[in-house]
């Protein structure tokens, strides 16, 4: 498998050097693997820190900036970062108002952030943690619980907006938790992804088949079927989401590409998702279409729904200025 890299061992480091080179509004500590907004710590503002394995770009480093994250900690590809990174990030963004960790529910991320929260507390930093587990492909409350996927974008953005407005840690945590508890995602793979270390696909997916209920780490999904049309995939996806969520409020919608699906296909898919939502009386308030929470070069898509009341919708609309999400600023 050909890849646009130098050597597999330096993929994350090279990408961070790229971010440092082209985003002067960010402070990128390449050696310690921490991306921080340049003006951190922002006085009287709660600091938001997230992180996870690399390979999901622009999540999380591309979401660092005013109105979203204060810092991101990228791990190796598909591997949680280590506690040292998170403690360093927390110290860099803590203005004295405390720090919120936003964690995707994967065993590694949860364990490393747990250890980091203990270490940061020993350094006198107030830390709260909100875990995102939005993937309806898995039954809630079974085994390790649901995975954290596309819903993370909504948690980072809405908690980031309320933090930017100067809300205290308790309030920022409450908003993050409310969003984390209410968003739902479902993903589909048409082709597996290839990690640089492995140099080839992480699982086999024969031509003519697709995988329903995938995660974002190249792990296989729950069910395999013969290839479906964009409209059929949208129906299966929206059914899975609506059966679980049954939203009675308008929803923010993320129609997300997994990394190797052309935007041409993704917009065609978005039209099918809009149709499928309408047929089930779900009202989209705002919709994002693009590659936001990816899985390297996986072909496929995921849909995330995030119910919003007037307050959350107002927060969504406030200015945001990050490399990958930017409006009103």
């Amino acid at each position: 498998m050909k890849m646009l890299i130098n050597v597999p061992e330096r993929v994350v480091e090279d990408a961070l050097r790229g971010m440092a080179a082209v985003h002067p509004e960010l402070t990128v500590d390449v050696a310690n693997r921490v991306v921080v907004r340049r003006d951190a710590p922002v006085a009287n503002k709660v600091g938001l820190v997230s992180g996870g394995g690399s390979g999901h770009e622009p999540l999380h480093g591309g979401f660092v900036g005013p109105g979203m994250l204060d810092a991101a900690c990228p791990g190796e590809v598909f591997t949680s970062p280590v506690p040292d990174q998170m403690v360093r990030a927390a110290a860099a963004v803590d203005s004295g108002e405390g720090v919120l960790f936003i964690v995707k529910n994967y065993t590694g991320d949860v364990l490393n952030f747990e250890m980091a929260a203990e270490l940061a507390a020993e350094e006198g930093i107030r830390v709260e943690t909100v875990t995102v587990s939005d993937d309806v492909a898995l039954a809630a409350g079974e085994g390790s619980g649901r995975r954290g996927t596309g819903g993370t974008l909504f948690v980072e953005r809405l908690a980031g907006a309320v933090a930017e407005a100067g809300a205290p840690l308790e309030r920022v945590t409450e908003v993050a938790r409310r969003v984390a508890d209410s968003c739902r995602s479902f993903g589909v793979a048409l082709a597996p992804c290839s990690t640089p270390a492995r140099g080839g696909p992480t699982f086999d997916l024969p031509e003519g088949e697709l995988e329903l209920g995938i995660g974002i780490h190249g792990e296989p999904g729950r069910e395999r079927r013969g290839m479906m049309t964009s409209g059929e995939i949208a129906d299966a996806t929206v059914d899975a989401l609506v059966n679980d969520l049954r939203p009675d409020e308008p929803v923010l919608v993320l129609v997300n590409g997994m990394g190797a699906t052309p935007l041409l296909e993704l917009y065609g898919y978005a039209s099918e998702v809009m149709r499928a939502l309408g047929e089930r009386s779900v009202v989209p308030a705002r919709t994002l279409v693009g590659d936001y929470v990816t899985s390297l070069d996986m072909a496929g898509c995921s849909v995330t729904l995030c119910p919003v009341d007037e307050e959350l919708l107002r927060l969504w609309e406030t200015p945001v200025r990050t490399p990958a999400l930017r409006w009103g600023a």
């Binding site: 190796e76 598909f78 591997t79 506690p83 065993t107 364990l111 492909a137 992480t202 792990e219 729950r222």
Partner: protein
């Protein structure tokens, strides 16, 4: 002869810091040798990085032990655990790190410990791993190799290695209930758990180190009862 079987009952404090350093060096070599196999096991039911992650961590442990060799068994294990937590990432970093750190703390600063003391310290470490990961025996995790290994170690080093290896192989028919493989449900059945496989390597390296120490002593003619 296998140490800790005939000449003594494993209660003589014969294992020093140097023994523990050689154990972890042997574990690092075993992980490096089998990194591809661990990654292949992980590709089947996880995300294809267990071998490369552990290899990075144990290489860091070896570097640290060479640069600053601790002088007590407990310090060797706690330092190695801290290094793994700082360098591995994923779930295996905190889990292996906690195993070694807790075991190291149990051993305290005694300059020499016995095999039975090591077994009891590892039992504490395994308990801490179970608590941290929220897993138990039969969940298709590293515990399926480590729990029987600890019981084996109360009898002999060789029994620990055999029990760990059997425990790892016994994860094949299990349905994963913890960790990333749990997302696969029934599709996790039929594959060996990569964490159990790497745990068997760690315990195998312990038994090999004990055997070599006994051989060395045998050659020097001062008896295997040192081990």
């Amino acid at each position: 002869m296998e140490p800790g079987t005939d000449r003594d009952e494993g209660t003589e404090p014969t294992l020093d810091a140097d023994f523990f350093i050689r154990w972890l060096d042997a574990a690092a070599a075993a992980v490096a040798r089998d990194a591809d196999r661990l990654t292949e096991l992980d590709a089947a039911i996880g995300d294809a990085d267990h071998g490369s992650n552990l290899n990075r961590g144990f290489a860091a442990v070896t570097r640290r032990l060479t640069e600053k060799p601790p002088n007590a068994p407990g310090a060797v294990l706690t330092g190695a655990g801290r290094t793994l937590i700082s360098s591995v990432g994923g779930a295996s970093g905190p889990l292996y790190g906690t195993l070694l750190r807790r075991a190291g703390k149990e051993l305290g600063d005694a300059p020499r410990v016995s095999r039975v003391q090591l077994a009891e310290a590892l039992r504490s470490g395994v308990g801490a791993v179970a608590e941290l990961g929220g897993a138990g025996g039969g969940d298709k995790t590293m515990l399926d190799a480590l729990q029987p290994a600890v019981e084996g170690l109360t009898r002999s080093f060789g029994a620990a290695a055999t029990a760990a290896e059997e425990g790892a192989l016994a994860t094949v028919p299990l349905r994963a209930r913890r960790g990333r493989a749990a997302y696969l449900g029934d599709r996790s059945i039929g594959h060996q758990d990569p964490g159990a496989a790497s745990s068997a390597l760690l315990i195998g390296a312990l038994a090999d180190t004990a055997t070599r120490a006994a051989d060395d002593d045998g050659h020097r003619g001062n008896g295997a009862d040192r081990v």
